[in-house]
């Protein structure tokens, strides 16, 4: 599609650099636009998918809900239907395509319907209440594991075949192959129950009872106290992947010509390690950032359920277990949309950090 951009700059020497600059910048902005367009299309498809999931799936939840109201509470069919329509904020008498437009219209107004189970609670307010905790815990752990992985990966690349390399590589492969929720269970079983190091019961929830949000040290401490276990699990299970990727990337960067030249120029080893090797070796890792965001957010349903951390993942798991369909569809949509937006940000971040990508386009 746009791979021609790369060869264009590879053959273009320093002499026509100035001439090349202009088209390059234009290509960069079309890259951004194309990337943005792709994200919007993805979000649109996800919205449509969730709509058709509730309307066309074998166990049509709207119909089930109506039947339930009629059978259990003896409510007349028409009334039950109206009630269901209000909860999903769709007009059930309209043809399917009109219902779809109703759904889109409601969505633009920020209306995702109301919860089945706690009537009168809009799905949007549930999302507003729980999503920040997931974004917070996942965001913090991504930063920690990325930095830790880059640091450790570089370290073992420089001490290849040493004892530390073998030990760290072994631990990294073990922690990244074992499912993260099993690690979470092991944390509860050992740190919480068997050895009694952590008070897992009071660490539940996202805040201690009675704690009011404020910019005080006590509040920040409380937030970190409750988020500690999910963060620990995400960091334990994802750092290994970053470390191994960084090790490989560093090893291949160390063989690049410009590193050899830097050595020949007699530059200080510390400068070569950080500015020449480290910087360039960590760049390719940013492309993996997008994938790992999706993976961590996806896994949050399990991790948050195990630690009883009140994030959006736990809400999703609960709403599915109790078949609260409006909450289910709203939360699924928001989780997926936040992954799409995070992917977009990771891509932009990468293109800002690596000038070559501006010319190369999407690949």
């Amino acid at each position: 599609m746009s791979r021609t951009g790369v060869s264009g700059t590879a053959t273009g020497g320093a002499s026509n650099f100035v001439v090349k600059l202009r088209p390059a910048r234009r290509r960069y902005s079309t890259y951004l636009l194309r990337r943005l367009g792709k994200a919007i299309i993805t979000i649109f498809v996800i919205i449509s998918l969730t709509f058709f999931l509730i309307r066309l799936m074998p166990g049509n939840p709207v119909q089930i809900y109506i039947n339930q109201l009629v059978a259990q509470y003896g409510i007349p069919y028409e009334d039950a239907k109206n009630q269901a329509a209000a909860l999903f904020s769709i007009d059930l008498d309209a043809p399917l395509y009109l219902q779809y437009f109703d759904f889109l219209g409601a969505l633009i107004r920020g209306d995702l319907g109301e919860s089945f189970l706690s009537k009168g609670t809009p799905v949007v307010s549930i999302i507003k209440k729980f999503l920040p905790w997931t974004l917070f815990s996942v965001g913090i752990s991504l930063c920690i594991s990325f930095m830790l992985g880059v640091f450790l990966g570089m370290m073992i690349a420089y001490r290849r075949e040493s004892m530390m390399d073998h030990v760290l590589t072994g631990i990294a492969s073990a922690f990244s192959s074992i499912p993260n929720y099993l690690i979470a269970i092991l944390i509860v079983v050992f740190l919480g129950v068997q050895w009694g190091i952590l008070p897992i019961h009071s660490m539940r929830g996202s805040l201690s009872p009675g704690m009011k949000p404020s910019f005080s040290l006590a509040f920040i401490k409380d937030v970190l106290f409750h988020a500690f276990l999910p963060i620990l699990t995400y960091v334990l299970t994802t750092t290994g992947g970053w470390m191994l990727a960084m090790k490989g990337s560093t090893l291949s960067t160390m063989e690049e010509d410009y590193v050899t030249v830097a050595h020949a120029r007699g530059l200080k080893t510390g400068r070569i390690t950080t500015a020449y090797v480290g910087r360039n070796a960590s760049l390719p890792l940013f492309t993996q950032l997008a994938v790992s965001i999706g993976f961590i957010v996806g896994g949050s349903a399990l991790i948050e359920s195990i630690f009883v951390y009140q994030g959006i993942g736990a809400v999703l798991a609960n709403s599915i277990a109790q078949r609260d369909y409006p909450v289910m569809q709203g939360v699924f949509m928001i989780i997926t949309m936040s992954v799409v937006v995070a992917n977009l940000l990771a891509d932009f971040l990468y293109s800002k950090l690596d000038p070559r990508i501006q010319l190369g386009g999407g690949e």
Partner: protein, 288 residues
């Protein structure tokens, strides 16, 4: 027949070059034998015995007893077969989809290629596990075949991209060009020339697909979204968690046994793939 044994011997010899990988291979073989043949030798004893609740390991009960005084070891022996079968079928389905469409789009190019790749990109962005959870909320997953179908149908995108990249590179090789010059037809080129060269890659992808399927499947079971009535390792963990056994000091053996089985199986599969990579990619040999 002689060729076959010779081939197997050759592969075993190559596998044993990497110690960790060979250990992984032996463990995978062990887990398969344990789960498929073990049940014929060790009967499942599900009679509750109130006097035997949460007993530590003994000769009669090598892994102790659970909250109803039942033997844990026999539950572990019987708890792998269904889990592994579902994972193998799911992995076979996703590998099949990935290979077929991955190689076809690489060969066809053009509109077909960009269409398939857009769909793949879309599926890659949707976080797989939440989608799986939501679907499990709609579809009754009380049938193992159904479950493996669903797992397999959601797991192909990463694999497809990788297969496409492989085929795109193999397409450029001389012998494929030669085959095309001889006008041997796309099907022949694909099945007789390209795919055999990807066999190793396919085996590795299949192994990784098994690990994804186990991750997803146990995750679903853990959240109680798969109503499988049998005892498998996932169900054991779910029961221990739902009934609060993990918060109970004496239940260590009951919770740890299935967790260890799943964790070790995943670990062996991943180390096996590392070793396979080395066996089939001579450039990596000697780096360990």
């Amino acid at each position: 027949m002689k060729d076959l044994f010779g081939g197997i011997f050759q592969i075993l010899k190559l596998l044993s070059r990497n110690r960790v990988g060979f250990l992984g291979f032996l463990m995978v073989v062990f887990f398969i034998l344990f789960s498929y043949i073990g049940p014929y030798f060790i009967p499942l004893d599900t009679s509750a015995d109130i006097g035997m609740i949460y007993h530590p390991p003994s000769l009669a009960h090598p892994l102790g007893t659970d909250h109803q005084g039942r033997d844990i070891f026999s539950q572990i022996v019987h708890g792998g077969r269904e889990l592994l079968t579902v994972a193998f079928i799911a992995a076979a389905i996703s590998t099949f989809i990935a290979i077929t469409f991955g190689s076809l789009t690489a060969f066809a190019g053009g509109l077909f290629d960009s269409l398939i790749m857009s769909v793949t990109d879309l599926f890659l962005t949707i976080p797989r596990f939440p989608l799986l959870l939501v679907l499990a909320g709609f579809i009754k997953l009380n049938n193992p075949i159904f479950l493996s179908l669903l797992l397999g149908l959601l797991a192909w995108p990463t694999l497809l991209r990788a297969v496409r990249a492989q085929v795109l590179s193999l397409k450029q090789r001389d012998y494929v060009e030669a085959a095309r010059a001889l006008d041997l037809g796309t099907a022949h080129i694909l099945f007789a020339e390209v795919l055999p060269n990807m066999m190793t890659y396919i085996i590795i992808s299949f192994t990784l697909a098994v690990t994804y399927a186990i991750y997803d499947q146990v995750g679903l079971v853990l959240l109680g979204l798969v109503p499988l009535a049998t005892n498998n390792w996932g169900v054991m963990i779910n029961l221990a968690w739902v009934r609060g056994a993990i918060f109970f000091k004496d239940s260590l053996w009951y919770i740890l046994s299935p967790v260890a089985m799943i964790a070790l199986f995943q670990l062996s599969l991943v180390s096996l793939t590392r070793s396979l990579e080395e066996v089939f990619n001579p450039r990596l040999r000697g780096s360990h």
